[in-house]
């Protein structure tokens, strides 16, 4: 395992410590809980708080989206493991400006349970909490069971939209509705080319044979739809796009936001190669890419591979997408 590690059990603590040092202009640590990263601006009195949280090892997700006009507070879990109910609660409290809090998180068993417990505790403390559960990962369950699908990089767009809506002074219910609309309009798919290793384990969780790829893989290496020959970048892009489009009701004239994220170890230039193809293929179908992102936005340690996320836009989503944002991982200057 060729990695920079001290005690494997201390990685998250050290990561968060380094992170708040680097980004001290945008974020701070919750004084009550060192597993909660809070925007420098939060809580804003009268603004709906936006909270998320999830396992570590996906950096810059989740902490990197804390900041102005996006996420107010993030609960930080161990590597690939949901944060505690207490951390979700503390994040909710840190984000609470008296106008309610929306927890926008991904559909994983642990997160569901811990958010549920945190909500219960928050209610006792008089904080109104609404949730939206991201389920953009097309290959994690059939369309008929969308509620079973996992949340992946589409969460970023959900945070962007929800964060902008909250920044514009919307009510908790309106923020929830906007975030729900965003994730409902979003589909993602992942392709894995090489596995990743949790430092505490010292060896990969799963294998991908050289020359093969795992299509529809999850963010923790959850097995995908199938294992196929490793194809060319363009063929992979086309296959990914097909899965997304088949699940999506996109038509000529539609506008979308495209986000390509690397899984950690795939060179950044290859993400641009994929993006180039996706954008061209969408254009060939009369679909305009209104805004795009390509980079390591939501990783899985040093996994090789990439995810494609497509969000269908309308005027409201476009305006919210364009709204200024300043976070360590994403900056948009409207």
């Amino acid at each position: 395992m060729q990695r920079f590690v001290n005690d494997p059990d201390a990685i998250v603590e050290e990561t968060v410590r380094g992170f708040v040092k680097v980004h001290s202009d945008l974020v701070r640590l919750d004084p009550a809980n060192d597993r909660v990263v809070v925007s420098r601006d939060a809580p804003v009195q009268g603004k709906v708080g936006v909270v998320t949280g999830g396992g570590s090892g996906h950096e810059p997700a989740f902490i990197g989206y804390t900041g102005r006009n996006m996420v107010d507070a993030v609960a930080v879990g161990e590597l690939f493991s949901s944060p505690t109910a207490k951390s979700f609660l503390d994040a909710i409290k840190a984000a609470n400006g008296g106008a309610g809090v929306c927890v926008l998180y991904g559909n994983y068993a642990g997160d569901n349970m811990n958010v549920k417990m945190a909500m219960r505790m928050a209610k006792k403390e008089g904080i109104e909490v609404l949730t939206v559960v991201a389920n953009d990962d097309v290959c994690s369950a059939p369309a008929a069971e969308r509620e079973k699908r996992r949340g992946v990089a589409g969460e970023i767009l959900m945070w962007k939209i929800g964060g902008a809506k909250a920044a514009l002074g919307a009510s908790a219910a309106e923020v929830q509705a906007a975030a729900q609309k965003a994730i409902d309009a979003t589909r993602s798919i992942g392709v894995g080319l090489a596995p990743c290793t949790l430092p505490a384990n010292g060896k990969p969780n799963f294998q991908i044979e050289p020359g093969k790829m795992e299509f529809g893989i999850g963010h923790h290496g959850e097995p995908g739809v199938n294992i196929t020959e490793l194809k060319s970048a363009n063929e992979v892009a086309d296959d990914m796009l097909k899965i997304v489009l088949d699940d999506h009701d996109l038509a000529t004239g539609d506008e979308v936001c495209v986000l390509i994220s690397g899984l950690g170890a795939t060179p950044v230039n290859e993400l641009y190669v994929l993006y180039d193809r996706i954008e061209s293929q969408l254009a060939a179908q009369g679909i305009t890419t209104y805004r795009g992102f390509a980079g390591n936005y939501f990783t899985s340690l040093e996994m090789m591979g990439a995810t494609l996320t497509v969000m269908k836009l309308d005027d409201e989503l476009k305006a919210l997408l364009d709204h200024d944002v300043a976070t360590p991982a994403m900056g948009v200057n409207g």
Partner: protein
Amino acid sequence: MSTFANAGAGAIIREVAAVIVENRGYLSEIDGKIGDGDHGNNMAKGFGRAAERITDADTLDAAMMTLSDVLMSEIGGSMGPLYGMFFADMADVIEGKEQIDVRTFGAMLAAGRDGVVAIGSAKVGDKTLLDTLFPAVDAFCAAGDDFPAALRAMTAAAEAGRDSTLDMVAKIGRASRLGERSRGVLDAGATSCCMILTAMAEQTAKRLA
């Protein structure tokens, strides 16, 4: 009828923790086959930390609450809420008791099991720790008033329950996406649950008077 003193029985939980810590690598390895490979790490961290905070004088319920607190406030994942509720709800039943008899022990186990179901909403056959927990608790309660025999029945049923997951297709959690590919591997949670119950049974049996 044999019983054991609640006071000092917190040591049982320390022994349980020792078994979990010892099996850290094995549990992660099983989880890695159809999950994300961290079950042993999560478990060892939570149980290991709790063990450091449990003293020899602790009652069983105090030790269980310590463990539950650590799981819920420091570990997270699925194990935080699931085993957190398991031990919290068990502790509730025995809180304040001086001696614990076979009936109380059975009621305690049943409450813990119900806590897991309440938070996790899984069912027997989903290939989770419930496939160990349900038959084990049932076997204990069905065994009557012979405490040592009930503990032995629980252990045997826990092992059988754990092994039953080998041939199951996962219906919940990370592994459920695998469909048929999840068959042929033990469930990690069912395995850790079996270790917990077996260690509890062994340590409890030693204390019975």
